[in-house]
């Protein structure tokens, strides 16, 4: 353990510089209106009328509030002008927001600053604060590993966003092929960063990619075999391109992390067993790998299931509240999410024997070298 007093450790200094940097960045976002092209205003006075009960066709009760704001514009050609606007919101705030005095908002204005309405709340301070909190928590807990994790997250994002950007500038390129390339790049980068450059890393890279691609291939086969029965591609939100291609790409990205996790856990667990017990028979060794795999396949699939379902919960709730049956709401909102999670699960389970097999090959190769 480190015996230096905490203020002499280089880590404390790096951490301190990080905190100061984020505090400065946050203060900057509180006063950065002049750098925006969009008009920004601050609510200087606010009046909310008494709520008015409303009931929709499905007997859902909500309360409607009317707000009246005086907004002072902080930048652009209408700087320092004040405008009065009306705004409505519902108590549940499903698709409306309640604003308060002091809130800064992004505005839409015409040339005379007559018809003004609020586009968005100004959220950049929150974004900076949360980014800081995220980075600091990961670095504080993980130290050097924390930095590696952040680096791999950033590089993964760059790889995926680059594939999307390439596709949107050159729509003739095959989206799925671009995503496959992004997946290969981010797998190699992540595993090199996390486990370092050894022959074992090659094992985890190969088994991750095999596990991911085989499960995606299987899914494509099943979709073709059943003509995509029961999959409501049209419910995939924000669609601007062929839904099946987008869906397969999203399944691939989504299961990649879990499959990688399984490959690493099994490979390093088996390596640890071999280190402690170098004379273990190949069969016993494979069995030990299988035991590790059995312990994690359920929980890993569950991580995917909950993560996917959480994104579609608000829409699911709206369906239920609009007097749709549970089965209809599930088929409209969750058919894609559940298929996604199951495909990820298939990838996870398939990665177990693939990794074990490749570890056996690795042992043979190592034996030959020796």
């Amino acid at each position: 353990m480190n015996q230096q007093p905490f203020w002499q450790r280089p880590f404390t200094w790096i951490f301190g510089v990080f905190i100061i940097f984020f505090i400065i960045a946050m203060i900057f976002t509180m006063h950065n209106e002049r750098f925006y092209n969009i008009p920004i205003g601050q609510i200087v006075s606010e009046h909310t009328s008494h709520g008015e009960s409303v009931e929709d066709d499905h007997h859902n009760k909500d309360i409607k509030y009317k707000q009246h704001f005086t907004i002072k514009i902080l930048n652009g050609s209408h700087r320092d002008k004040t405008v009065d606007i009306n705004h409505n919101y519902m108590k549940a705030q499903v698709d409306s927001e309640r604003f308060e005095k002091g809130d800064k908002v992004l505005l839409h204005t015409d040339d005379a600053a007559k018809s003004v309405y609020i586009i968005e709340k100004k959220r950049d301070t929150l974004v900076v604060f949360m980014t800081g909190l995220f980075l600091l928590t990961i670095i504080w807990v993980g130290k050097r590993v924390g930095l590696q994790s952040i680096l791999s997250l950033i590089l993964n994002t760059v790889a995926i966003i680059a594939a999307i950007a390439l596709h949107s500038t050159n729509p003739h390129l095959n989206l799925f092929a671009l995503m496959v390339a992004a997946v290969i790049v981010s797998t190699v980068i992540t595993l090199l960063l996390v486990t370092g450059w050894t022959l074992r890393t090659l094992v985890t890279i190969t088994s991750t990619l095999l596990g991911t691609f085989v499960s995606i291939g299987l899914m494509q086969l099943i979709i073709r075999f059943t003509n995509g029965e029961g999959l409501k591609f049209e419910t995939l939100g924000f669609l601007t391109m062929p839904p099946k291609e987008v869906f397969l790409a999203s399944v691939m990205i989504g299961s990649l992390g879990a499959v990688m996790d399984v490959a690493i856990t099994i490979a390093s667990g088996m390596y640890e067993i071999l280190r402690r017990n170098p004379d273990i028979s190949a069969t016993r060794w494979a069995l030990a790998g299988r035991n590790i795999g059995q312990d994690i396949m359920g929980t890993m699939t569950n991580i995917l299931l909950f993560s996917y379902l959480s994104g579609s919960l608000p829409m699911f709730l709206i369906y239920l509240k609009n007097a749709n049956t549970i089965t209809y709401s599930i088929s409209m909102n969750w058919s894609l999410e559940i298929s996604r999670a199951i495909t990820g699960g298939i990838g996870i389970v398939l990665t177990i024997p693939i990794t074990i097999l490749l570890m056996e090959v690795w042992l043979k190769m190592r034996g030959v070298k020796r």
Binding site: Y36, Q93, R123, V127, L153, S250, M297, T301
Partner: protein, 262 residues
């Protein structure tokens, strides 16, 4: 047969082939988790207080995945307490972020999909978003907690004279080893799940200033960040709780053991 049924069947067969009895249990736990979630959402839909329902949901899910899938012992008990504490801290932080940023509910860009529905549903969407954000990470927190607490306990069994600080230190080491992969798992799962939104940003032609203030982007961004924060935060919490629990529950045993030896 529908795609989902066929995929489910393939997963079922694969889990049994490669997982045996444990695979069968895993498959049914997965199914049980889904049913618990469905019932929870229906109860919220009927108007029950969301935070209360969420508390019961978290306790049930943690209990099912720790005590039923494994068994009731010091390891799972430590993982259970750590999961609940991490989740409580998260709920507080998520609530602050969602309410200061007005991140709840649907965005203006989603109106194409939502205009056919009545949106005055009378369910507090700030609280509901806290629930969905917790849901996205709770499985990962449970997984991490048990992965840290069980080697700590095994280490204690081989070396019972380790101090609490040494136990915490070893737990932190185990946690750090899996931090990168766990953060990656939850991150890519979220990214994959919401990939269509990222396609959209390239079609919208928003300015950078508009994107980083838009509810659409900030909602996704904050959820991803909370995934990472949850994973990182659960490591020291689990290491600390496990060491504490091992030392307090086994104190009596140690003494009786030593007096017996005398």
């Amino acid at each position: 047969m529908s795609v989902t049924t066929l995929l489910g069947l393939v997963l079922f067969i694969l889990m049994i082939v490669f997982g045996g009895k444990k695979g069968l249990i895993s498959f049914f736990t997965l199914f049980l988790n889904f049913i618990i979630l469905l019932i929870t959402v229906v109860i919220i839909m009927l108007g029950a207080p969301i935070y209360l329902v969420m508390g019961v949901f978290c306790i049930t899910i943690a209990a099912v995945n720790l005590f039923v899938l494994n068994s009731y012992n010091t390891k799972t008990k430590a993982a259970f307490i750590s999961t609940i504490i991490t989740t409580l801290l998260l709920v507080f932080a998520i609530y602050l972020a969602v309410s200061t940023g007005d991140l709840q509910g649907f965005t203006a860009e989603q109106q194409d999909e939502t205009y056919v529905f009545s949106m005055n549903i009378g369910i507090n969407m700030v609280q509901f978003m806290v629930f969905t954000t917790v849901l996205a990470v709770i499985a990962a927190v449970i997984d991490l907690a048990i992965t840290i607490s069980s080697p700590m306990y095994e280490l204690y069994e081989t070396k019972p004279d380790l101090s609490r600080t040494q136990l915490i230190y070893s737990g932190m080491r185990v946690g750090r080893e899996i931090l990168a992969t766990s953060a990656n798992t939850i991150y890519l799962a979220y990214f994959g799940g919401q990939l269509t939104i990222f396609f959209w940003f390239f079609k919208l032609n928003y300015s950078l200033g508009h994107i980083i203030n838009s509810k659409l982007f900030v909602q996704e961004f904050i959820s991803i960040l909370f995934g990472g924060i949850a994973v990182a935060l659960s490591i020291p919490i689990t290491a600390w709780i496990t060491a504490w629990l091992i030392k307090t529950t086994n104190k009596g045993n140690d003494q009786s053991h030593s007096s017996y030896m005398e």
